[in-house]
Symmetry: C2
Subunit: 514 residues, 2 copies
C-alpha cells in the first residue's frame, strides 16, 4: 500500500529483512569435536587428583544444610555430624553412585530440530547467563532489566551457533524477584525454540519451568520426565558447602527427569587453595559429591560434571578468567569428567571491562581450552564481560564471530580428486594467478568462511568508510539482528495455556516465595 | 650530582628504570610443546597430499630461472625445458634429497644464551618482519623508516618471549635500498643479541650478513659455517616459479652453512586453487622442490619447511589471515613437515586494519593453530597488522601478552603433596575463604601468571583511571620499554670492526647492487 513517496515503517523493516543476508551466519549444525582432547594431566596425575578428592570426601567431608540429604548419606554408611552438618563418605560409595549416571543424554525443546545431545564429542554453546548488569555502546552500562533480557534472548535465538540458554541471560531487576522467573520462562518459550535452563533456586521455580515447558511442547509433565527439555546448573558454595536451596533445586529437577549440572565455584586463592592441583582436587570432590547425591535419590538421572576453576587477582581478590590457570583447568576438568564417563560443562569467560583486545584474548584462551578439553556444554560462550558482572551486546556479536571461526576450523579438510586439484594447478602457468579459473569460479562463493564481523577492506577504503573497529561494527550487527527478528511460531493454544499459567501462578505467589 | 630541586634527565630515566618491574614479563625460557600435535589430515589424506605433490613435480614441474639450478636438476635425471625453464623431477629423487636434511639444528647469536634449537617440539617466536609501513597510536600510520626500525628491534630485544628477528621488522624506506641491509644488520647486532635473519635477496646481502655476524661473535666465517648464526626465508613465487634472486640467496646461505627456510607464498584462490587440499598440495610441492635443491648442492644443510597458506577475500582479492582456512593450513603444514622429518615454520597473522577485537581473534586463530600444529618457528608472532602491510607497536605489546598467556598455559600442572593441598583444604572451614591462609601467603606472588596488559580492576576503578582499553594501555607499555631500553653490551673491538665493515662496504657498493 504505497502512498506517494513516503516509505512506511513496514517497508523499511522489509527492506532491512531482505538485507539480512549481510548477517553472515553458519547454517545450523550439530558439532562433534574431530580432535582428541588435550590433556595437561598425565594418567598418574589424574589418579592423584582423583585419590586426593576421595580423601577430601572421606576425611574432611562436606557441610550439607539439607536434612534429607544428610539422612540419605547416613543411610548409605556415611558419617554425619548433625551439629556441624558435616557429611563424610567413602570413595567407593561415591564411585558406585557416579557409575549410575548416563554417559550422554538428550534435551528436546519445543522445536525438536534444536534438540541437544549432551556427552561424547558433541559441543553445545550457550549464551551468557547470570550477569546483574547489561551494556551496549549506545545505551551504556545499566542494571539488568526485562527489555534487555528479551533482546538478549532474541540474539541467542537468531545466531545458529548458540545452542542453549543458561540461567537468565541477565537478571531482570526491574521485575519482582519472586515471580520474574515466570516472565523469563515465558520469553524463553515465546522468543525462542531452543533449550533453556530452569532457575535452580528452590523447588517452586523448577516446578514452574517443568509445567511451562511441558505446555510449550503440548505434553504432560509425566511425558516430559521421559523426554526431558530442561537443565539446571547448581553451584556448590565452595569450599565444601552444599546449601539446601541448591540441593532442593537439583533434586527437584532430577525428580522430574530433567538434567542437572553440578558446578563448584572454585576460584583459586579464594574458594580453594592457590595451587591449581588443589583447586582441581576440591572441584572434583565437590562436583562428585553433588552428582552422587542426585544418583542416590534418582539413579540414572541425567547429570553433567561442571568445572569452573579459575583464579583471582591476588592484588584485589577479583575473579579473573581466560588466564593460563583457567585454561589449564578447562582442559584438566575434561580429563576428570571423562574419567567418570560424565558429560562436561565448562565456560568461555574473560575479565575485561570492555569489548577490547583483552576481552578477546582472554575469551580465546578459555574458548580454545574449553573446546580442546572436550567441553560438551560451553557456558557463557557469547556475551560475557567484566568477569560476569555484565552481559554485553557487542561482546555477544564478537563471540558469535569467534565461535563461527572456531567451528569452521573444526570442519574436515576434503581431499577428493577435485579438491586435491592437480588439474586446477595445471590450468595456471607458473607465476600466474587463479582468480578467474573455472575451478575457482565454481567454488569461490563457498570455498571460504564468510565472516560476520571481520572487515577485510584495504586501509584506504576502511578509513573512508569511517575506520570503525570490530567492536563499533558489532553495534550495527546486533541492532540489525534485533530489528529483523521474528519470533519462531508457536501454536496459539499453547501460547494461551502458558499465558494463563503465568497469570494464575503470579496470583498464587503474590508476595510470597514461589 | 644533585643540584637544588631540579631533577636531571638522568635521574628521571633512572626512576623510570626502577619502575621497570611493572613491565610484567616471563623469565627467558626454552619452550617445548608438551602436547601431541593436532592433526586435521588422516594418515591416508596426508599420503594423498604427498602423492599429489609428487605428481605436480613430476608432471607439471616448476619454472626455474636460475641456469645452474636447472642444470643441477638435469644432472639428477630431471627433465628440463630450457625454452620454458620448466624443470620436472621424479618424487623418488626429491625424497632422496629431502632425506639428507637434518631433523633439527641450532643457531647461535653473539649471546650464546639466546641460542635457538630448531626442530622437534621446540617453539621459537619471531618479531613481525617485512611490512612497508609502521603504526602506533601516537604518530599514526607512516612508511617504514630507520628510526622505527631501531625501536622495533629494541622491543624485540626487550621481551623474553621473542626469540628471533625475521627479515627486517619494517622496510627502512628512508635509507638507500642497496645498502640499507648493512644498517639493519648493524642495528640487529648492536641493539640485540638474539638470532636474526639475513636479507635473502641475491648473494651480496647474504655475504654481508655472514661477515658481520662472524665479526659480532669474534669468529671466522669458516667457524661460522660449522656453528651457524643466521637464517633466511625464501619465498617461492607461487604458483610453481622459483626466481633466481631467491635460489641464489638460498644457495649462498647454505654455502656458508647458514639455515634456509623455504616458504611458498600460497594464498588460496590467488596463488593456488581455492580448495585447501590443492593449496596444501602446491605448498608442499613448492617447498620440497626448494629444499631438495638446497640438499642437492649442500647435502645436510640446515633447512626448514615453511608453510604460509591462507586465503584471499574473494570479493577484493586481499590476503586474509587468521581465518579457519589459515588455521587448518597451519595444522596440516605441521603434519607435512613432520612426515619428512623437517623443522616447521609457520606464522601468527591477521588482516585487521587496527589493533582491535578482529586483530586479536584472527591472531589467536593463527597463533593457537601454529602452536598446536607444532610450529618450530612462529613468524610474525608480535606486531603484525593489516595483512602484513603494517608493523604496529600496540599490536606488538598485545601479541607479547598473548604469547605469554599461551606459553604459561603450556607449563605443566604440578601435583606434589603440597600442590594437591589436602592440608590446605582442611585449614579452611566449609563456606570460608583461602585469602589469608599460610598456604596462600607462601605462594600468592608466584602462583598465577601476572599479566603485561590485562587490567583486572573493577569497573568503577577502571573508569576512574581513565577507562583505557587494552590497546590504549599498550601505548604506555611500548613507550616504557623503549624509554628504559639498554642495549646488550658488546665488545668494543667487535663494535669497531663492524662499523668499519659497514663503512667500507658502503663505499664499495656506492650506487650499485650489493
Amino acid at each position: 500500500m504505497r502512498r506517494g513517496a513516503r516509505t512506511s515503517k513496514r517497508e523499511v523493516r522489509k527492506a532491512i529483512r531482505s538485507a539480512e543476508s549481510t548477517l553472515n551466519q553458519l547454517v545450523p549444525q550439530v558439532l562433534d569435536n574431530p580432535y582428541p582432547p588435550l590433556c595437561p594431566l598425565t594418567s598418574d596425575q589424574l589418579e592423584e587428583i582423583h585419590n586426593a578428592s576421595m580423601t577430601v570426601l572421606e576425611s574432611l567431608g562436606m557441610e550439607v544444610t539439607s536434612d534429607r540429604v544428610r539422612a540419605m548419606f547416613q543411610s548409605l554408611g556415611g558419617s554425619v555430624d548433625d551439629a556441624t552438618q558435616i557429611v563424610r563418605i567413602d570413595g567407593e560409595t561415591i564411585m558406585a553412585l557416579i557409575a549410575k549416571a548416563p554417559h550422554h543424554f538428550t534435551l528436546t525443546p519445543r522445536n525438536a530440530a534444536n534438540q541437544l545431545v549432551i556427552g561424547g564429542r558433541r559441543i553445545n554453546c550457550g549464551l551468557v547467563s547470570g550477569p546483574p548488569n547489561v551494556h551496549d555502546r549506545i545505551n551504556g552500562r545499566r542494571p539488568g532489566n526485562f527489555f534487555d533480557y528479551q533482546s538478549l534472548i532474541k540474539l541467542g535465538q537468531t545466531f545458529n551457533v548458540i545452542n542453549f540458554f543458561g540461567n537468565q541471560s541477565i537478571a531482570p531487576t526491574d521485575l519482582p524477584a519472586n515471580t520474574r522467573h515466570l516472565d523469563t520462562y515465558r520469553e524463553n518459550i515465546m522468543l525462542s525454540d531452543k533449550v533453556f535452563s530452569a532457575v535452580p533456586i528452590g523447588k517452586g521455580r523448577i516446578q514452574d519451568a517443568v509445567r511451562m515447558v511441558a505446555l510449550s511442547r503440548g505434553i504432560t509433565t509425566g511425558e516430559l520426565s521421559e523426554d526431558p527439555s530442561l537443565f539446571g546448573n547448581i553451584n556448590v558454595n565452595s569450599p565444601r558447602k552444599l546449601d539446601e536451596a541448591m540441593s532442593d533445586a537439583a533434586l527437584e529437577l532430577a525428580y522430574y527427569g530433567q538434567a542437572v549440572i553440578v558446578t563448584p565455584f572454585t576460584l583459586l586463592g579464594a574458594m580453594t587453595p592457590v595451587t591449581l592441583a588443589a583447586g582441581l582436587v576440591q572441584q572434583n570432590a565437590e562436583a562428585l559429591f553433588g552428582l552422587a547425591m542426585i544418583q542416590a535419590f534418582y539413579p540414572g538421572a541425567p547429570v553433567v560434571y561442571g568445572g569452573f576453576t579459575s583464579n583471582v587477582d591476588m592484588r584485589s581478590g577479583a575473579p579473573v578468567f581466560g588466564t593460563p590457570e583457567n585454561a589449564k583447568a578447562n582442559l584438566a576438568g575434561g580429563q576428570l569428567a571423562r574419567r567418570y564417563g560424565l558429560p562436561y560443562r565448562t565456560s568461555a569467560c574473560n575479565a575485561s571491562n570492555t569489548t577490547d583486545a583483552q576481552a578477546v584474548y582472554e575469551t580465546q584462551m578459555s574458548m580454545w581450552s574449553a573446546v580442546l578439553g572436550h567441553g560438551n556444554l560451553l557456558y557463557h560462550a557469547a556475551g560475557w564481560l567484566e568477569g560476569g558482572l555484565v552481559a554485553s551486546f557487542e561482546k555477544l556479536i564478537i563471540d558469535v564471530e569467534m565461535l563461527q571461526n572456531l567451528i569452521s576450523m573444526l570442519s574436515p579438510i576434503r581431499t577428493s580428486e577435485e579438491e586435491l586439484g592437480i588439474d586446477a594447478i595445471e590450468a595456471v602457468a607458473p607465476g600466474g594467478h587463479f582468480f578467474g579459473t573455472e575451478h575457482t569460479m565454481a567454488r569461490y562463493e563457498t570455498a571460504f568462511y564468510t565472516p560476520l564481523v571481520s572487515d577485510w577492506q584495504n586501509n584506504e577504503n576502511w578509513q573512508a568508510a569511517g575506520g570503525k573497529d570490530a567492536t563499533e561494527r558489532a553495534t550495527s550487527l546486533w541492532q540489525q539482528a534485533i530489528e529483523t527478528f521474528e519470533a519462531p511460531l508457536i501454536d496459539g493454544a499453547r501460547r494461551e495455556a502458558i499465558d494463563e499459567y503465568v497469570d494464575r501462578r503470579k496470583t498464587q505467589i503474590g508476595t510470597s516465595e514461589p
